[in-house]
Symmetry: C2
Subunit: 432 residues, 2 copies
Amino acid sequence: MKKGPCIKEFNITPIAITDPPLLNAAGLHAPYALRIVVELVTDDNISGISEIPGTVEIEQALHECKHLIIGQDPFQTNKINDILTAYFGTDSSADRGLFPWDSRKLVHIFSALEVACLDIVGKIVNRPVVDLLGGKRRERVPFAAYLFYKYEGAGGELAFDTDPNATGWAAARQKSALNPDEIVKQAKAMCKEFGFQSIKLKGGVFEPRQEVDAILALREAFGETMPLRLDPNALWTVETSIKYGLEMEGILEYLEDPCRGQENMALVRKALRTPLATNMCTTSFSDIPNSVKVGSEDIILSDHHFWGGLRESMNLTGICQTFGRDLSMHSNSHLGISLAAMVHLGAAIPNFRYALDTHYPWQSDEVITQGRFTFEEGSVAVPEGPGLGVELDKAALAKLHQNYLACGLTKRDDQVEMRKVIPDWEFKQTRW
Amino acid sequence: MKKGPCIKEFNITPIAITDPPLLNAAGLHAPYALRIVVELVTDDNISGISEIPGTVEIEQALHECKHLIIGQDPFQTNKINDILTAYFGTDSSADRGLFPWDSRKLVHIFSALEVACLDIVGKIVNRPVVDLLGGKRRERVPFAAYLFYKYEGAGGELAFDTDPNATGWAAARQKSALNPDEIVKQAKAMCKEFGFQSIKLKGGVFEPRQEVDAILALREAFGETMPLRLDPNALWTVETSIKYGLEMEGILEYLEDPCRGQENMALVRKALRTPLATNMCTTSFSDIPNSVKVGSEDIILSDHHFWGGLRESMNLTGICQTFGRDLSMHSNSHLGISLAAMVHLGAAIPNFRYALDTHYPWQSDEVITQGRFTFEEGSVAVPEGPGLGVELDKAALAKLHQNYLACGLTKRDDQVEMRKVIPDWEFKQTRW
């Protein structure tokens, strides 16, 4: 039997993509979001790519493990996982951090390598990545509209400013959204452009009354058939979560991370009929036993960047099925490589009940040759090409890398950005 | 991208393989064990094979679903699983039955199809099946010596008789083993031939004192460095399990299914330091939540024929890792196709601590062109060829199918066989 190919190149490119001034529990999105694009190239010149959230620390760690990966066979992802685990050590739950995003090292790095390896394997065997996960259970993967409170502006070069020539969603997404009316306008423009069939509001920004009023306004505007979700990003107390949770009973499809910690989530869950979702209290396999013990959520919002890749996400799906949980997906600001990976995974999982999150409508850059993905009725077709089905646009990559060098950001810090607007603003683990 | 191949042939061949008169909790092995060999052939004439335990009922169910499988793409195992689940319905825990083996329908049938599909996929992509599970974590997979109380005889044509010309293990395995001395002799002959580094005694045959004495005799004969296991197949009460469990503390590597049911197992587990293993109380994903709740075992002895194939077994591995359980493997009388699948899976799983079970030394037939697998120091090398790395020997298959037709057996019924020796023998769920 033919010996496997081996990885001869491991290219690591930090990029900065324009990101509007979106508000969230941790503060304010900077004008650029950082991502890292990884490209692995085999000795027979097959290239596999992936995209993960970017920080200088993760970038350095990728460089650090390069020598361990060069020469490996991209089919041997178990071995690569073991090598990285031995080198970096297993992440602890504490490494995740308190913010809505995840700061663990090993899961990010292995995710970057595994997705790029599966892209290579898919190309070698002339099959889409979804077929490496057992094959498609659906042709299209549904996403939800992801609404944000935001300041005026479009991010990037246009930060805190607007493009007067934009039309449609490109115009609408530049506008401020700081009250229920503006949130409804944002939702209408986004749903018109992308056809989303469900809506999430990123909360944890204003006091709960105002955010609940925005949900009620969305209900009024879209009617009973549009599933609604609210994500206060763990800033509410248990009492607040129950109080407003009860008010929104029958209106929310799910309530996401109203409060912090599995035990608190479990208290809220006992008090509500509305399902609870999380990407903050149950975020790794080591969190699962206590999640099962206390019953902290109904839906795990997985993220293959944080759970260690696509096969581990399939394992998580199995755990969710076994323990009567649903699985949907979490998102950060991202481009089409991450979206492609999410779509392949989303097409393979069983019991798909909740449209996935994506920040994609908020970005305008792209790093793949096919350009921006299109959504129809809120869903994305599984890319047909072999592997991920997307190819790296080297010129776009170079430009976005220049943005990275120019913007001077080294990690996501929404508090720093927020203080540019509100100087004494401070992140709080629990606010209301 | 090239469209996938499709399955054009689905061949189902029940076979009977010679099996010695082995004693166990359910009675006595018949002179033949029944297996079913499944062969799928694609439209471009790539053949994939698998082997599962055989009953007329399973054979009929395979024929029944043939029309659903013909025309499917072997890469689309998720879809095939969904089709079969829709057709047959999900197995219930009760469908498993009370015997040491498993009587569920869907898991057997999907396992047969998934393994054959992965064999095809491996051949198409020119990779061993283990690479479809993320690749090898070890080059060789260790197995344990599997000792049985038995009557004189070698099974098959030679049932209840011996071959006077046999030598070595072939001679030793014909001998009776009905007391500690004979068990030690069996162990020595088997370990000499196969190099096994750990030993399991199938118990649940004689009253506990005698079986514990056999363990003590093995300890005496092999010393402290040889890990020992005893499997009373759930026939002991909780009290008996604790009493003899305490006596064997520090002597057993694990105690397997001393008593019946997760709650009883949990009681025994609390009373002992010796790890408990099971293939009887936690045997499906639907059993996992209560296993976690009550803490019924330390080690799940999986069996890809009973857990729905190789990818589901990888999911089970993830669950075991997540909940601090170990995973090893259960066996029934089988040939080299099943062994090959076990070895590919065994090479991929993380945290391999316990050598796997196999009945393979008790069989002498084979259905693959390479002939019988060889063991070195108790372990089997991962087959190198693409797919499972074994090819169907059509002449051997035909002969074993003739055995099936001639022997008249339609399912495994160890009580019927036992009554040929002890007319009033009766299976009991709990005996001592």
